[in-house]
Each structure stands twice: as C-alpha cells, then as structure tokens.
C-alpha cells in the first residue's frame, strides 16, 4: 500500500493526542520512542498501530530518558523522530534535550501539560511547564515551543514543529495541555500534496570535506546521517565546526553557544506565529495560549458586546517569545490581562514586553481551565 493512500485526509472526529500522532505521520515522522504517561499515552498507543503501516518504528523504552536518547539516535540515523510525554517525563528528558540542542538534532518533543509539581494531577490540565520549556536544560540555548489551542492545531502544529525542527536543527517542543489533548473535535486534513513538509538541509560537496557543525549564512549547518560515508563526530562537549571537542577554548564556547541561541532568536520573525483578534483598537488586550485562549476569545467577544474595547493576542509560538507583538498590543492598550493555568509564568514575559502597561494576571490551578466569565471579569475590572 502506498504511503499516500494510507495517510488520513478529509474531515475526522478525533482527540488531540490522536491528531498529534496523525500530524507526526503526515509530517514524515518515522520513529517514535516513548514511555506511557497520562495524559500523553494515546499518542504512543496510536503510533504503535500507525507507525508500522508506514514502515516506521515504534518502540516503548524503559523510561523517558531512554526515549529522548533513542529519538536523537534515530534522527542522526536519518529518520524524523518524536517522543511524547507529560510533566514528570518532560523533567527526565531535560538533560538530553540539551544534548539535542548541542548536537543540533532535529526532533520533536510533545509535552501534554498536567498539574505539577511532581506527580501532581495526572488527569487535569496545566500550563506549568512553559518556562521549563525555555530554561529546563542547563546552559544557554535557543529553543522553539508551540502551544496548540485546538485538536486541529494538534495536527497542524505537530507538522509545523517538525518543519521548524528540520529547518533550524533545533529540538522543537509542542507544549499542549491535557484538555487540548483529550478533547474531541473535528479535524480537517488536507490531501498530502497540500501539506507543506520541510526536510533537513543536506550536505553538499565531498564527504571528506564535510564539517558537521559549520553553519551556512542562516547559522544552520547542513546535516549528514550515519552510514552515508561522511564519518563525522558529534559530541555534547563544546566542539568546533568539525565536531571535535574544544573544552578549554573560550572562543569556541562563545561562538558555539551564541550561535545556538541566535540561530533561533535571529530567525524569530520567520518562526513566530500569533493570532490577533480585534486588537486594532483594543483598550484591554488579553494575551493567552493553549486551551485558555479559547475561553479568552469567548470573553473578548462578550466584552465587545458589553461595550468594552477588548482584543485577544493568542500566542501560537511561546518560544521564541513574540515580544514585538506583545509590545505593539501593549502600546495601544490601557491594560493587559493574562490568564494562565499556573502561578504566573508567561505573564512575566508579557510584563517585560509591555513596558509599563499594567498587566493583570489571572491564575487558575487544579481544575478546569478559566471560564470566559472569569476572564471577562478581569477585563471589566481593568477597562
């Protein structure tokens, strides 16, 4: 059976985890390693059934550390690779996410956020890992993180995550929440020819001249795979363009780490995606992401009906942070409202970008996401 016929197309009713799994397959992912964890398990279950149909690999590893390690290995062996987990597993993966950053490994890590810290609330939603997404591994680095708000976006943004990861040679995180993952919605899947797929930049020139960490003008080095005759070395140690360890050189360290940060930050205009709703004349601007943005949208519409000039800035990209978009909204607004399912994480970034415009944080923990009324109330207080 040809791949195209087996790919889903058309309208389907599915949950977010399944949509994510189907998005991975559509993106060309052919390797999944994972470990069961609520509320991400359905991604693994679905891929255990679907991967073999595409000649792809599904393996359940002994833990999340092994899962991300195997994903990095598979990516270097030439396959698009992914793992999926939730908070506890995401914590375990952090060291090797740093390895993926350092070795510039294209791969996708899905974190279905539940309530933390520790084992927390396995079956309830949270947005408590969004700072960990940026700062979780030790050292400085650039990272890309996306936040889907719907089951459709679980499909679309999984593909986007692969495309970004392949483009920038950076691990890309899909930071979803339990509601988006377990909610069932209609998903429309275009025919595969209409889905934009990006594949990693391959080396040009002879194998013996290949330098695995010599960047092009876009700061991204082309990537060879194991077994192709390039005979290259990669290491988590600070390394030069050849991939050879240079652990005593301040020059090599500075050049490498700055590039790892800047290849993301300097392309942020190309990476960042946001959605703006009625922001043009908004006096109260809500900044939200994930499932909370759905409530926020409803709240904004109700506010408009009640005569409040309200607007929504929905963050689709969390990292790199859409600073310019927040600054623009803040310039015009008299107040900002930031609802999050945590004790205040992205709100700090919003405050930093808002440069003096009052920012009102609406926290919710340990239960369903904010209702539109809860967000509306905060808007009323600040309008």
């Amino acid at each position: 059976m040809s791949e195209k016929r087996a790919l889903l197309t058309g309208a389907h009713f599915m949950n977010g985890d399944v949509a994510c799994a189907e998005g991975a397959i559509a993106a060309g992912c052919r390797f999944f390693a994972g470990y069961p964890i609520t509320p991400a398990t359905e991604i693994a279950e679905h891929l255990s059934e679907r991967m073999p149909e595409f000649g792809g690999i599904y393996i359940q590893m002994e833990d999340e550390i092994a899962s991300i390690a195997a994903v990095i290995g598979a990516s270097y062996a030439g396959l698009k690779a992914m793992t999926a987990t939730s908070g506890p597993g995401f914590s375990l993966m952090q060291e090797n996410i740093g390895l993926a950053v350092m070795t510039e490994t294209p791969c996708v890590i899905v974190d279905i956020m539940r309530g933390g810290p520790s084992t927390g609330q396995p079956t309830l939603p949270g947005q408590q890992d969004v700072m960990q997404a940026k700062w979780g591994s030790h050292g400085d680095y650039g990272i890309i993180a996306l936040a889907p708000s719907s089951v459709q976006e679980m499909f679309d943004l999984t593909i986007e995550a692969f495309n970004l990861s392949e483009t920038y040679r950076v691990p890309t995180l899909l930071m979803a929440d339990e509601v988006v993952a377990h909610m069932w919605e209609r998903v429309v899947i275009p025919s595969s020819s209409k889905i934009k797929i990006v594949n990693r930049k391959r080396p040009h020139g002879s194998p013996n001249k290949y330098m695995p960490f010599m960047p092009d003008d876009d700061m991204v080095p082309p990537i060879a795979c194991f077994g192709e005759g390039y005979r290259f070395h990669a290491t988590g140690l600070t390394h030069d363009e050849h991939g050879y360890p240079k652990t005593q050189s301040s020059e090599v360290q500075s050049k490498l780490v700055r590039r790892l940060c800047e290849k993301v930050s300097k392309s942020s205009d190309k990476i960042i995606r946001i959605e703006e709703v009625m922001l043009e004349d908004a006096e109260v601007a809500v900044v939200a992401y994930g499932i909370v943005a759905r409530s926020a949208l409803s709240a904004v519409r109700r506010a408009r009906k009640a005569g409040i000039k309200a607007g929504l800035l929905r963050l689709i990209t969390l990292w790199p942070f859409p600073e310019a978009h927040v600054a623009k909204a803040a310039q015009q607004a008299k107040a900002m409202v930031v609802p999050e399912m945590n004790c205040g994480q992205m709100v700090r970034e919003v405050e930093r970008a808002a440069k003096g415009t009052p920012v009102n944080f609406v926290s919710k923990l340990g239960e369903d996401p904010h209702t539109p009324m809860e967000i509306l109330e905060a808007m009323r207080r600040n309008s």
């Binding site: 059976m1 590893m61 002994e62 390895l99 194991f226 070395h233 360890p245």
Partner: protein
Amino acid sequence: MFEKEVHPFSNYLRSAMIPHIWCPGCGNGIVVNCFIHALDELQKDLDKLVVISGIGCIGRTAGYINADSFHTTHGRAIAFATGVKLANPELEVAVISGDGDLFAIGGNHFIHAARRNIGIKVICANNFNYGMTGGQQGPTTPIEALTTTTPYGNIELPFNLVHLAAASGATYVARWTTLHVRRLTQSFKRMLQKEGFCFIEVITPCPEIFGRRNKMKTGLEMMEWFRRASVVENFSDPAKAEIMPEKIVVGEFVNVEKVSYEKLLHEKIAKINEKRMKW
C-alpha cells in the same frame, strides 16, 4: 633523512583527535587497538560503522575511531544506540563505554537493551572506578578497595557484569583483561559477526587513578595482577565468574543464537503491510 612513517592502522583513527587524553599505563588504548584489529581482520566497512560512547575516559573512543561517531550524555549511549540501530538496521552499532557509565547511571538501559536483544555490540572497559572524575567508587569497585570516596575501604558489593549480561538475555558474553590481547581480538571478531545484543567486558588497568591507591602503582603492576590471577574458564557459569585479588575468571560465557529485536520488528512491519495489500 627519515621517511615519514604512516601508522598501519591510521585509516581507522581520526588523526586530528590524536594524541588521546589517556594516562600512562591506561588500558584503553589496548581496547581500541584490539577493536581496530578485529575490524581490520573482518574487513568491516567503516562507512557502515557507528561508534557510540557515554561519558568517561573510554568514552573519548568515539572521537578517536574514524567512523561515524557520537559522544552522548552520561549513561545514555545504549539508549541512543537503540534509536540508531532500529532506524537503520544495516549499520554496525558499537557502544564503547565504561563501568560507571554503563552500569551505574546507565544500568537500566543496559538490562533492557539486552532483554530486547537489540543488535548492538557493547564493550565495557572496566577499570573499577570513576577515572575521569578522579577515582571515586563505582558499581564494579572491589570490596575493601580504596578510592577517593571509600577512604576506609569499599563496603558495597560490586556487580558481576558478565552474570548481569547473561541473566538479562545477551546472545554473546565474554570477559577478558587487556593482557589477553589475542583472545580479546578474537572475541571482538566473534561479536562483530553475531546477531543480537552482545557484551564484552574488558578489565583495564587504571594505575594513575585506581592502582596507586591499591598497591599497584604502574600499568605493569596491574597487568602483573591480571597475569597472576586470570584463569580462562570458557562457558563456565557466569554467576561464579569472580574478580578477586587472587582469581579473575575470564573467557566466553554465552554464545547463543537468538533473533534480534530489529529483525523481528522489520519482519512484523513487512507482515502488517502484506496484510494491508490484500485488502
């Protein structure tokens, strides 16, 4: 005046990475030497070889061998190698790492890869301690040995690595010391021709860090211990393969045929798609 001599195995080594970082008297060079000899005698295609290591002195081997190579995080070489082997089963995937890396922080990955019978070749240079960090006690440190963290003598029972490997399901298990150069090379060759998870423990001298605290100040003195104490007991019970001051049991312990995980997996995938074709 002198013709520039080329090392006969220079094509197996990454000259840009030499000199190596290892201490005088260290046995890691012998491990690499025997491994390279095995590759050469089998005429292995270096383009299809991937050498993977974790963190530690021997972990630098990945950088020294002129094949595709990856130096992973501490303890994760086997998990990384699992991804490589499944993604491309045609590759020869060798993990070369140390006792602390493979059996303390990475112990869980070792037993599960052996249980699954992933077709990777795992070589452990066992020097009885954490050499790179200055000689701390580890999972193979002998009872009463002195290390920087057991200044009053070690009271932890060490792992018997060949017993652990055999019990976990490895298809090939052997132990040699760096004194057994020919037998070790033979063992590497045998391993490189086998399907499934293979494990070879190489007891290596670490005079600078371990030996000098334990009355063996030079590499030679440690090799003297290996010579004096080693007893070849091929296919003896690995559970009884002890490493003691007076006796080190070496030899091949397991050599069985078992279908590898990747073969079963790809057969399964082929079958699933065959069934779909019929619909």
